[in-house]
């Protein structure tokens, strides 16, 4: 063994020059994307980025700490409503309102995390489910939150009248925030707190015996995860421009879980891939499929005739369900697992 190992190499941002190279390539691609892609697409891309932020946070809770949340649409809503209301009612600037709303969401995460010490598996699912439903219920019934009609989002003023108007302009802001939060998550998971999360996931009894305080770290994981959901929600408002309680429902919470399961539990790259795939599938591909002549109407027809009781077409849910089942059966590590296998294959290629 070499006498002087440089331990910073174990934790540094770019593990090797190869990683650094591809990261730079990816960043250059992302920052020049408006050059190759028509601007009407960017509303979708913004949604992808927002979901990436949320999925990265959710995966810290579910994939790394081994806790479950069926209520992340609730934190997402707190972020969206919090940011908008802090700006419109209190007149706070965007740069303060967004993090403040995220910290409020985070505080709710902390509180929701408290029962996590005693509740496990199905019981925790129900507690988080209840939380999500309560939030949607409250924002739908109080006029302060816009009620059923919803809220108009104020202009995205970065300060000094520097207002982001187009989707492409917002894309740059959201992209920078996303990159920052993804790398922060990566740092967090590489250090002491991230390791403690994994310890709780793999053996809470051993975690305690080496000195990890379960109460602190379980609630911390909820808080961190809710913070990410809060930021994502705040940005989500600006992607939509106008929103009401409708999207923040149980189905959304489940779709978030689908993203990280499909992408790969416990892997940041998995969160990114899963959020990207599911968002594009849900908001773009599946819609387009329905418009393909013959095939589209045929599939819609089948789904509404055979796969639902009330006769509504539900192709989206069916495809998501099939993907989930396929992942669980064939590649529990998700897309990230497939990616790892491809990498391994090429590393040993052509032997």
């Amino acid at each position: 063994m070499d006498m002087k190992r440089d331990y910073y190499e174990d934790v540094q941002l770019f593990e090797s020059n190869v990683v650094l190279f591809w990261t730079v390539v990816l960043l250059v691609f992302l920052f020049t994307l408006p050059l190759y892609v028509p601007s009407y697409r960017f509303s979708l891309f913004n949604l992808v980025l927002v979901h990436v932020i949320l999925a990265v946070g959710l995966n810290i809770l579910v994939g790394n700490t081994g806790q479950i949340s069926l209520g992340h649409a609730g934190f997402f809503a707190i972020g969206a409503y919090g940011t908008t209301l802090l700006m419109t009612k209190l007149g706070l600037p965007f740069v303060l309102a967004l993090p403040l709303a995220a910290f409020i969401s985070s505080a709710f995460g902390f509180i929701l995390g408290l029962p996590a010490l005693r509740l496990e598996g199905p019981y925790l699912s129900i507690a988080t489910l209840g939380f999500g439903l309560t939030v949607t219920h409250i924002i739908g019934h109080w006029d302060f939150f816009g009620g059923r009609t919803g809220l108009q989002v104020p202009p995205l003023d970065l300060g000094g009248g520097f207002i982001l108007k187009t989707d492409v302009q917002k894309y740059y802001l959201i992209l920078i925030i996303t990159i920052f939060l993804v790398l922060s998550a990566r740092n967090l998971l590489k250090t002491r707190v991230g390791r403690a999360f994994v310890a709780i996931r793999d053996s809470d009894i051993a975690a305690e015996v080496i000195g990890v305080n379960l109460l602190i770290y379980k609630t911390l994981s909820f808080a961190v995860s809710a913070f990410y959901a809060g930021i994502a929600g705040g940005l989500f408002g600006f992607v939509l421009g106008f929103f009401n309680p409708e999207p923040f429902n149980l189905i959304l919470s489940i779709v978030f879980l689908v993203m990280i399961v499909v992408g790969g539990l416990g892997a940041i790259a998995g969160s990114i891939m899963g959020a990207t795939l599911i968002t594009i599938l849900q908001y773009s591909l599946l819609k387009n499929i329905k418009e393909v002549p013959y095939v589209g109407p045929f599939m819609v027809d089948i789904s509404s005739r055979w796969f639902t009781v009330i006769g509504l077409e539900n192709l989206n849910s069916i495809v998501l369900g099939l993907i989930m089942i396929a992942i669980v059966i064939f590649e529990p590590l998700g897309i990230y697992g497939i990616w790892l296998r491809i990498k391994k294959y090429w590393r040993t290629w052509p032997f």
Partner: protein, 263 residues
């Protein structure tokens, strides 16, 4: 009575079963103190009581003059008690390095924000990582785990996993180290290595070792003092040779495999 580590009149029962029944013992600093006894005699339960996983129905556990009964396991770990488990409890989906780094948890400070802001070499989190990784690397070298350093623990053979667990406990730099059947599943050669390591650990780490073992060669070879349990009660205490010859001990082991054969 010494104030380093002692157990007074410890009892716990499960349902009607008295798993540990009025057990007392006193351990001198920096010695190897072994607990033997047939299966189900309450050895592991005593460890679970010491590290706070179970709370005794009566009795006291004194570490350096302080009663630790009632404290939570993570508090007790911070006070200086570390252990291994009879049925290995590792973090299976983490690497050997990360498992042993987790043993440094109580000695590190990085929190959520300082951790997330590990942007460059000079950052607090990175500096702390470097210091503690160096420390862990020494343990990895000591236990000869260099070849599996970056492997996932779940992929390792049984014997190696036992060593990783030992390494993790050592990383806590405990005052008292509890080892629950560390040699189980090892072959003769590995057991000999382990005996040497345990003696080295006592010297190098200046630690007091409580050892539960079934292998009599090992017990005889490295223990300073031995107690024997039967049905939750202490039936003998003394030097290894004394306990081995004790009539009640021999009787307790009748019907069990002939474990005194080699001694």
């Amino acid at each position: 009575m010494g104030d380093h580590f002692r157990v007074e009149n410890l009892s716990i029962s499960f349902g009607g079963l008295k798993a540990v029944d009025g057990v007392s013992f006193d351990v001198e600093p920096n010695t190897i103190f072994s607990i033997i006894g047939p299966n189900g005699s309450g050895k592991t339960t005593i460890f679970n009581l010491i590290c706070g996983i179970y709370h005794p129905h009566s009795g006291r556990i004194i570490l350096e003059g302080r009663n630790i009964v009632g404290l939570k396991p993570d508090r007790i770990a911070r006070l200086g008690i570390a252990r291994t488990f009879q049925n290995i409890e590792l973090f299976g989906n983490a690497t050997v390095m990360d498992n042993i780094m987790l043993g440094r948890h109580i000695h590190m400070k990085t929190g959520v924000f300082s951790g997330a802001f590990m942007w460059w070499r000079g950052s607090r989190a990175a500096q702390e990582e470097i210091v503690h990784r160096e420390e862990v690397e020494k343990i990895i070298d000591f236990l000869d785990l260099q070849s599996v350093r970056d492997q996932f623990v779940s992929s390792l053979p049984y014997g190696k996993r036992k060593l990783v667990e030992l390494g993790r406990a050592l990383a806590l730099k405990p005052k008292v180290l509890l080892l629950d059947e560390p040699s189980a599943g090892m072959n003769t050669e590995e057991k000999e290595d382990l005996s040497i390591w345990i003696k080295d650990i006592r010297e190098d780490y200046k630690v007091t070792i409580l050892l539960i073992e079934h292998d009599m060669n090992m017990i005889m070879g490295i223990s300073d003092r031995v107690i024997c349990l039967n049905y939750g009660r202490k039936i003998a205490e003394g030097l290894p040779q004394e306990v081995q010859k004790h009539p009640e001990v021999i009787e307790a082991y009748l019907g069990e495999e002939d474990i005194f054969r080699h001694a």
